[in-house]
Amino acid sequence: MLNIKAGSTSHSAYNLRSVYSDVEERHTLAVIVENEPGVLARVIGLFSGRGYNIESLTVAEIDHTGHMSRITLVTSGTPQVIEQIKAQLGRIVPVHEVHDLTVEGPTVERELALFKVRGEGDARVEALRLADIFRANVVDSTLESFVFEITGTPEKIDAFADLMRPLGLIELARTGVAALSRGPDSRV
């Protein structure tokens, strides 16, 4: 019996996926947790203890009075591993909800990054020009450096980093991915 879920990958041509396929997939999970001490350690310990990948992880409180935080987690694995990750996350007592945004529908994913680029002359001008094209903001400048702030998909930030590297990129800080489902409804 094949367990096929509709609309299960953002990058599949057929929107079909066998839970028993060997193909590695990248999934974005939203994990709603009680904001209690150690909860992040539990989540991270689960990934390290069971050998799962974490490509990106962000966490912040989203509801102060309700003591709730949202962890956005990007992970990769075969469909069977992804299902196991979700089930294991669901077992953690202070985890309230686990949402596989990748399966649940279209999402917006954004990441913020800060770039320190140092240079003079043409390189400096070119960096500023490219920053403009990428809609990056200058948040700090000296006569020999800029700090750019950029928001976008991880791919966009990767692309910007590739361009800045030869132009004097000396330091880079990324926040990791925050993600929400598209459309008027909230499933979380």
Binding site: V19, G45, A87, G90, R91, V93, P94
Partner: protein, 590 residues
């Protein structure tokens, strides 16, 4: 003390709150060991009579005793340990309980909150250390939250898939006064679903109607679900006539004397059980988790079956083995509904197919895979267990075991008629489990016969608990199958490592009779098969703890055996039934 007015709610110290919360949870026995960081709690224990405290001799013993108590009663076991070394000594027991899904609540002392993080005397990051080996744990920093946390701890330990929890309580929190509001103050959020999906249950009922070669494969989840689950399982097996096997953890849920009983499956399971798993067309897994000791080689596991899997833990489904009919829910609830649906549909089975299947199973049974070559010169371990079974099976009996060959032989040669009568370390395979577990069982069942089937090496790992057994006059019987070997290690070395017996001897063993006497208990030694029955009777008749040193054949191997990485139909058999399977199998293994 009667007449004393006990405060049951309102303002009280944290230490008092601990005792009151235990009382409110109906706890009658705790196992523990005092130390600086739990002195306020011990002071409160001293001043009351509702809760018995059993002083173990090592904190590992306290946790295993609590496990034994829990497994034999179905109630959570409770242990108290001090900070630092007390807590780290609890780690093996917590991990054991996690892997076998045993509900226990461990309370640990901690240095005062204002000293946490300063490397204070006997400070350890207990919640950090025990995070991966508990179902959940808490560090309580305010006395006002202690009561609700303790009740939450009992709730989490027992609901859903049971497991160990730990509450770390700093000493200043025990001294300070806070408000206590009783059981209802716990947060109510944690509530794993227990009712199975109706469509999936119906799909299983339909599969049962047409299956030609069905088998029930059951595990510890049936026992954890409670006596009702075992009863429903028996009803279902009787009504369908399907054969049933069980994991090590699930023995007793279906009676060993039952008509459809195939015996245990897995690495040292019975031939007929493993062959039935390999050949079935419908596998109904109930509260078991496809452990590697059960499946053998995954890609050769039961190649032609539809698998249904009933489990309360969603992460158990599709973890190692693909499941066709997954049912998440409590075993008792799902079985009740399954019986209902299958009955409403007319209680149909494929009788013809079943008859052929039973005939095939009969052929496998006829191999008599547990046959062994007995001896009148030396006691064979299998014979020792056969005699123990014959002489105790009609008694009100509980069995615990250590880990090794003796454990597997006990599972093979002893018969369990009811759940909660068999306590063994399955998932973690913890040598040193059985003796303290037997103490926990005997505390819960003072009038019953409690026997720990042990290997000499395992038994030494927690032998300090002799002091506990004698102090509390617990008549636990330590039935040691003494082969002067780390027998299971020796067996693997013989079969898989070219007979190079690296470090698998038990050298410099104590004189067990003198050891018993040194503790104030009774020691019995037996080495002649002709004396065995009398010696066992002497052990049973003695009203007090006994160490029974049963000197057995040193080089006996435990069969059948599925070597690691082999399939169910690639079993090695004992010397009697298939002499050259060992040679052929052994050759492949080298």
């Amino acid at each position: 003390m009667t007449g004393q007015t006990e405060q049951t709610a309102g303002q009280m110290t944290g230490a008092k709150m601990v005792v009151q919360a235990l009382r409110d949870q109906g706890v009658d026995t705790v196992f523990g060991y005092p130390g600086g960081a739990v002195l306020p709690i011990y002071d409160e224990l001293f001043q009351q009579n509702d809760i018995r405290h059993v002083l173990v001799r090592h904190e590992q013993g306290a946790i295993h005793a609590a496990e034994g108590y829990a497994r034999s009663t179905g109630k959570p076991g409770v242990a108290i340990v001090t900070s630092g070394p007390g807590a780290t000594n609890a780690v093996t027991g917590l991990t054991d309980a996690l892997l076998d899904s045993i509900p226990i609540v461990v309370l640990s002392g901690q240095v005062p909150t204002f000293m946490i993080g300063s490397d204070a005397f006997q400070e350890a990051d207990t919640v950090g250390i025990t995070r991966p080996c508990t179902k959940h744990n808490w560090l309580v920093k305010e006395t006002d939250r202690l009561g609700s946390t303790l009740h939450e701890a009992f709730h989490v330990a027992t609901q859903g898939r049971p497991g160990p929890v730990l509450v770390d309580i700093p000493k200043d929190v025990q001294f300070a006064t806070g408000s206590y509001g009783g059981k209802e103050t716990r947060s109510t959020r944690y509530a794993p679903p227990t009712k199975g999906d109706g469509t999936a249950i119906e799909a299983l009922a339909r599969a049962m109607e047409t299956a030609k070669r069905p088998v029930f494969y059951t595990g510890g989840g049936v026992i954890n679900s409670g006596p009702e689950a075992s009863k429903l399982l028996r009803d279902l097996v009787a009504a369908t006539g399907f054969p049933i096997t069980s994991t090590l953890m699930g023995l007793g849920a279906y009676p060993a004397s039952g008509e459809q009983w195939l015996g245990m499956l897995g690495m040292h399971g019975l031939y007929e059980a493993n062959m039935a798993m390999h050949g079935c067309d419908l596998m109904i897994c109930i509260g078991a988790r496809f452990d590697d000791r059960i499946t053998g080689r995954i890609d050769a596991f039961s190649p032609n079956s539809t698998r249904a899997h009933i489990d309360i833990d969603p992460s158990s489904l599709n973890k190692v083995i693909r499941t066709d009919i997954p049912i998440i829910g409590d075993v008792a609830e799902v079985l009740k509904e399954l019986l209902g649906v299958w009955s409403a549909r007319g209680r149909k089975t494929d009788r013809e197919g079943l008859a052929q299947w039973q005939a095939q199973i009969g052929e496998w049974r006829a191999k008599d895979c547990l046959a062994f070559r007995n001896s009148d010169k030396v006691i064979k371990p299998q014979y020792a267990l056969q005699r123990l079974e014959a002489l105790t099976k009609d008694r009100d009996r509980y069995i615990t075991t250590e880990v090794g060959q003796h454990q597997m032989w006990a599972a093979q040669y002893l018969g369990f008629e009811a759940p909660n009568r068999w306590m063994t370390s399955g998932g973690l395979g913890t040598m040193g489990y059985g003796f303290p577990a037997s103490i926990g069982v005997q505390m819960a069942h003072p009038g019953s016969l409690v026997i720990n089937v042990a290997g000499e090496a395992s038994w030494l790992m927690n032998m300090q608990e002799m002091g506990t057994a004698v102090q509390y006059r617990l008549p636990v019987k330590q039935f040691i199958l003494n082969n002067e070997r780390l027998g299971m290690v020796r067996q693997w070395q013989e079969l898989l490592h070219g007979e190079r017996y690296s470090q698998s001897w038990s050298e410099a063993l104590p004189d067990f009779v003198k050891l018993a006497e040194a503790f104030g208990a009774k020691g019995i030694i037996c080495k002649d098969p002709a004396d065995l029955d009398d010696a066992i009777m002497e052990m049973l008749d003695y009203d007090g703890p006994v160490i029974f040193d049963c000197l057995v054949e040193k080089h006996e191997n435990c069969f059948p055996m599925i070597p690691s990485g082999k399939a169910h139909n690639e079993m090695l058999m004992g010397e009697v039934s298939t002499a050259h399977a060992i040679e052929a199998g052994g050759a492949v293994l080298v």
